[in-house]
Symmetry: C2
Amino acid sequence: MDVNFINPFIASTVSAFSSMLDCRLERQEMFLSDNFQPQHDLTAIIGLSGEIIGTVVLSLEREVAISATEALLGERPSSIDADVVDATGELSNIVAGGAKAQMSQYELSLALPTVIVGRSHVVTFESDVRPICIPFKCDWGNLTLEVGFTSGRD
Amino acid sequence: MDVNFINPFIASTVSAFSSMLDCRLERQEMFLSDNFQPQHDLTAIIGLSGEIIGTVVLSLEREVAISATEALLGERPSSIDADVVDATGELSNIVAGGAKAQMSQYELSLALPTVIVGRSHVVTFESDVRPICIPFKCDWGNLTLEVGFTSGRD
């Protein structure tokens, strides 16, 4: 996977958290995911397809997801409810949409996000795809962005 | 969501298990997913986008995933390893690809599958999408197919 694919997604994540949630992200060292590492409590997954095909995985610690929902809706959810799931899915949609706008040459279109809820779940790509993982920290806690792309096969 | 969207996915799932795995699926009653029901041990997720956008979720009990991998590779994995993950992702790819071929009017393209591994994880769609869930039984155990679509928004 071309490491340049990752930059629009990093920029889009930082920009979405800053402009929509007033939350400053501090980026950590990126690494190639070994494909069997546990995610945080809520993980949004959204597919992209076009001249290249890929999937974006945005995983949030519980406190990050709840605080992000509070920032969006003005009210703090007391637990992981439908609002938190929707906010997490919508964040992934905005991150992917922002990146897509910077990658117009690939004519990407977005699929529908799904959100995984559950402790210690693992999200894996097919073994021929080595996704790139970027951890971030913010005042609310930790999140990670994972992006895997391969050349189109449709 | 138009219930007719589901039929190509059901046909494609039954056909893939029959032709590739020599495994006869018995279809159970379909229902509208309430979005917070736990999945089986391995869940493949694959996005589709085109004139409509959606996501397909194929969730397999551990024994179904291991036996399917054995049927594909000729050797039985002793645990949930990269082969089992790849086989599960590839099954979702074949199911989605088969359905796409029957829905050419929507010009769908497939994203990259991801596979969730973990007990009692929950896969949710955004709350404005009510996915349709179809449980199946086979000699190896239980699996479910879940399909959510909405009109395109790209």
